[in-house]
């Protein structure tokens, strides 16, 4: 008996999403269980069945060089924005 991960596509054009898993002796049984458990009410237009031991798991994400500047969380503009607004309003008041 092997574990099979089940991915389902809800509608055409949507990505496959992990739904759950089934235990089955072979691919045909796995398909039968998966059809029954993840498709019998028309809630999926397609299923992917993947033997669990065939999945290559990638979970380590090294970030030794602090590459945050490539992402949204690399920028904290709050303090500078506040300062810029204060400067601008000080100039406006001074000019009045």
């Amino acid at each position: 008996m092997n574990e099979w991960e089940v991915f389902r596509r809800e509608r055409k054009g949507q990505p496959f999403e992990h739904a759950g898993s089934v235990v089955a002796p072979d691919a045909d049984f796995a398909e039968a269980w998966a059809r029954e458990q993840y498709g019998r009410r028309g809630e999926s237009v397609a299923l992917w069945l993947v033997p669990r031991d065939q999945i290559r798991d990638v979970e380590d994400w090294a970030d030794e060089f602090d590459l945050k500047y490539r992402r949204v969380d690399g920028y904290s503009i709050k303090a500078r924005l506040k300062l810029a607004r204060e400067n601008a309003s000080a100039v406006a008041e001074g000019g009045a």
């Binding site: 739904a19 759950g20 019998r40 969380d73």
Partner: protein
Amino acid sequence: MGKLTIVRKVVCVAAVEVPPDEQAFLEYVQSGGQVETTDWMPDDYRAKLIKFIEMHGNSELMGVLPEREWILKAPTLQRKLALTAKVQDEVGHSQLIYRVAEDLGKPREQMLADLISGKAKFHNVFHYPTYTWGDVGVIAWLVDAAAIISQKALLKCSYAPYARIMKKICWEESFHILHGRDVILAMVTGTPEQFGLVQEALDRWWGPLMQFHGNPIPAGEDPMYKWRIKSQGNEEARQQFLDGYVPQILELGLELHDPKLRKRDDGVWEYTEPDWDELKHVVTGHGPKTQERLAFRKHFLDQEQWVRDVVLAA
């Protein structure tokens, strides 16, 4: 701006790993962190998950028995088909749920054996008899409504594989509630006798329904809440049930025979203290139908042993 904030959040969560010590793990789940099957988890967390998920699976499997009794006695072909589909759905839920518990380390055969022997529990409402088609309507509408409140809260469960299957389960439950409400509406708009059958069934089920969400222990003292297996306390769930369904019951002209039942100005429902002794007595295997239904389940497990043997040998 709202969209940017979301992107920022996703990036941060993706970078967080499940922490490999119990205290840090607890803080991780309490701050909304989710755990996958292959992640490290404390033994206590795993044990609590298995206990909770196993009871849920048992309840789905045992919960079909009171309704199954009515497939042959359903009043029309349409109702017979709908009830059959619902029973099939609930057994399907137990398959999905047992699979999650099995993946956490408890073999399915062991779970079924513990169910039959009475070692493992199932929900109080499935230990009671059904007398009329009115009971079927009340079960499909109100028992399912109470259950879906608990199940919706599990969409936020800290154990992600469980939360994911709950999406599909909640989707199917919404059809069950509508089916139940439709049965009730047909009866309350029918003959006075049919209306009476609904009122009598409601009177029978109100006690067990009020006990369904469990003792009002504070969420902070609930081990299932501590680990964020549940995302709300028992009383919170019951209040949500009362808030959603008391008005829907009363608008049909049905009566709830609890003299203390009322909604306070601050929005909190007051009610007569549910019979917690009855709840304890029933779920520990002493309900009016407990032994009969377990014997029935055992009969079919024995009868179909050969199917499991064939599949396991394949």
